[in-house]
């Protein structure tokens, strides 16, 4: 059953491009949308047996996949963000041929991301990270404009550096462990985790993941890539790609493959805190909406890494919960940005104002997402940040807890500033005729806003059903 999450998009990709089936090309969007929704449904309703590798396909495909609780949270987020990206893409990419290309690249991306969260081998993880990256490079440059090409080029170069680091790490770990499966490496780390070459390997691999995740000081590519990519691609990148490529892989490896060590946790907490501070302060000074949201993403991913670095089960629960919440509310903020770009033709906040009355749905949903990002109760972001702060406090990391709280105030400041500049005040004459975004953009806005509120209000159920098992699986 797990193999289907990779094989169905792959088979669809091949079938849609057979030369003798032009009629099937018209069904490409519907197929990809169904795949995304089926993935969401599978996570929510599939019985436990569906998550094993038993069954008819297992006779032919021995992929060695595994779906733990953490994996299911990520698969759910991938499905939601992918469905959102497809809806916004359909609304914003009007040319049929371009839309077909876009859907194909999204299918490659979903194969890559599902592979990253399901594999149980370091080298396979690297392969699927590359699958995700290849589709991302092309998607960023999709419009073939100078900004997009520059953003894609920067991402490509820094990804190449990450590749070298990760492959070096894999090679050294293979030398020590004699294999690259998570199980083999974890067993070898228990006996040889303290030796120099193991530490070098872990350091190289983790640095590669920091680059992929856009964490400070390896964040140089991220603002350019997010802000210069077409609007639907920004949703995909900010919503899920960097989380799966960098942050999820980091959580998975740091908790169940690489040995837990004080030094490693210290590094994670310092990188997390630096990302929170640099991202938040840089976001304050931006006037381009997408660039501001990109810096905000760096800051929020810092919270996830800070929770992870805490090293306690509660810290890990907080990190994974914030990872999921951030996927939802940051996707919503980028959908809001797409709606504004679609109607005003710009993302420059200096040229906006008074859009709240003309785009009420976008305005209200943007407020919900902004408040959730800043950690205002009772929205989803509040609970995940609270768990991270409590975990830090319990671990006696008072300084880092203080940074987390203080920077939430800065987050609230730049996001309220954003709301004021875009939705309040007088409407500029050039936007006098602006109206609410198309249904393809408004519907995802409403669904994601409802999810943000619902996760916040149903916090005890979400915590007990999805999140607490995540904290338990590693111990």
């Amino acid at each position: 059953m797990l193999s289907l999450l990779i094989l169905v998009p792959l088979a669809g990709l091949l079938l849609l491009n057979l030369p003798f089936t032009p009629a099937m090309k018209r069904t490409a969007w519907a197929f990809a949308f169904t795949v995304a929704l089926a993935q969401v449904a599978m996570v929510l309703v599939a019985p436990a047996a569906a998550w094993s590798q038993q069954g008819f396909l297992a006779q032919y495909f021995s992929f060695g996949l595994e779906a733990k609780d953490l994996t299911r949270v990520l698969l759910l987020a991938i499905g939601i963000v992918m469905a959102t990206t497809l809806m916004v893409g359909r609304s914003m990419i009007t040319d049929d041929r371009q839309q077909f290309n876009f859907v194909n690249l999204l299918l490659v991306s979903i194969i890559g991301m599902n592979g990253v969260v399901l594999v149980t081998d370091l080298f396979s993880l690297y392969v699927f990270l590359e699958v995700t990256s290849v589709s991302s490079f092309i998607l960023i440059a999709f419009n073939r404009d100078l900004g997009g090409l520059e953003g894609a080029f920067k991402y490509l170069i820094l990804s190449a550096v990450a590749t070298v680091l990760m492959l070096t790490g894999v090679a050294l770990l293979m030398l020590v462990a004699g294999g690259t499966s998570f199980e083999t490496v974890a067993a070898a780390m228990k006996t040889s985790g303290g030796i120099t070459i193991s530490q070098m390997a872990v350091g190289a691999f983790v640095c590669g993941l920091f680059i992929k995740g856009g964490l400070v000081p390896f964040h140089g590519w991220l603002p350019d890539a997010y802000s210069s990519a077409p609007a639907p691609v920004s949703i995909l990148l900010a919503g899920i790609v960097t989380k799966v490529s960098g942050i999820y892989a980091l959580v998975r490896l740091a908790t169940s493959v690489f040995p837990a060590s004080g030094a490693m946790n210290e590094v994670l907490m310092v990188v997390g805190a630096a990302s929170i501070i640099v991202g938040a302060l840089a976001a304050l000074g931006q006037h381009d909406l997408k660039r501001m949201l990109a810096y905000s993403s760096i800051s929020q991913m810092g919270y996830i890494v800070l929770g992870l670095g805490c090293g306690t089960p509660l810290g890990i629960v907080g990190a994974v919960f914030h990872l999921f919440n951030h996927a939802i509310f940051k996707t919503l903020l980028f959908v809001n940005s797409a709606a504004i770009e679609q109607r005003t033709g710009t993302t420059d906040m200096n040229r906006m104002g008074g859009l709240g009355s003309r785009m009420p749905v976008t305005g209200v949903t943007s407020t919900i997402a902004a408040l959730s990002t800043a950690g205002v109760p009772p929205l989803a972001g509040f609970w995940s940040k609270l768990i991270i702060v409590i975990a830090l406090w319990q671990a006696h990391d008072y300084g880092f807890a203080g940074i987390a709280v203080l920077m939430s105030v800065v987050t609230l400041a730049y996001l309220l500033l954003m709301q004021r500049r875009i939705f309040f005040g007088k409407t500029s004459p050039e936007h006098a005729g602006v109206r609410e975004a198309a249904a393809g953009v408004v519907v995802p806005e409403l669904v994601l806003a409802a999810l943000t509120v619902a996760v916040g209000l149903l916090f005890p159920w979400v915590l007990n059903t999805f999140m607490l098992p995540v904290g338990g699986i590693f111990h």
């Binding site: 490659v108 080298f123 396979s124 590359e130 589709s135 004699g178 030796i195």
Partner: protein, 171 residues
């Protein structure tokens, strides 16, 4: 016997020097065709090293793909382009020197620095896998990676369609 070991070590060191030299030439040469040839030579030398280090499967892939297929594709593409004018070539040469003139010095400095670093190999390496049947490796041992490689190839194909074919049509 000791003489043979010394000769082997000398040969490996010579090959590593050749590898670094070919890689630097690939980056520094102003002519793109020579860059491709430099890349092919780099891969060919790496292939020999892989054979010598008892990794025949990796060597075969390096030789066939990196030293064979990729340079062939590059050269096919270059054959479709126009040569630079003498003035353009002179400008390219100056630009290359500006960018990479200090690269040999940097490589030597990094080499000297690395020689000072002593990494203790205080562990017993497990025996390396001795699988030599490429079909078994690809289809049974690294099954999932094969699927990933197919996805990368499809992604690359769409890259060509989106970034090159469409652009040509628009022009």
């Amino acid at each position: 016997m000791a003489g043979t070991d010394t000769m082997d070590t000398m040969l490996d060191i010579l090959l590593v020097w050749l590898l670094v030299g070919a890689a630097m030439a690939t980056v520094m040469t102003p002519r793109i065709l020579w860059s491709v040839i430099g890349l092919a030579v780099t891969s060919a030398v790496l292939t020999i090293l892989m054979f010598r280090f008892d990794s025949p499967l990796a060597a075969v892939f390096e030789l066939s793909v990196c030293a064979g297929l990729i340079p062939a594709i590059f050269i096919s593409t270059i054959s479709l382009t126009q040569r630079l004018s003498p003035e353009g070539m002179a400008e390219r040469r100056r630009e290359k020197w500006r960018r990479f003139g200090l690269l040999p010095v940097l490589v030597i400095l990094v080499g000297v620095a690395l020689m000072q670093v002593h990494i203790p190999l205080d562990f017993v390496a497990p025996p390396a896998a001795k699988e030599t049947d490429v079909r078994n490796v690809l289809w049974h041992v690294r099954h999932i990676d094969l699927v990933g490689q197919i996805a990368i190839l499809l992604g690359g194909a769409w890259g060509v369609v989106v970034l090159l074919k469409e652009r040509k049509r628009a022009a």
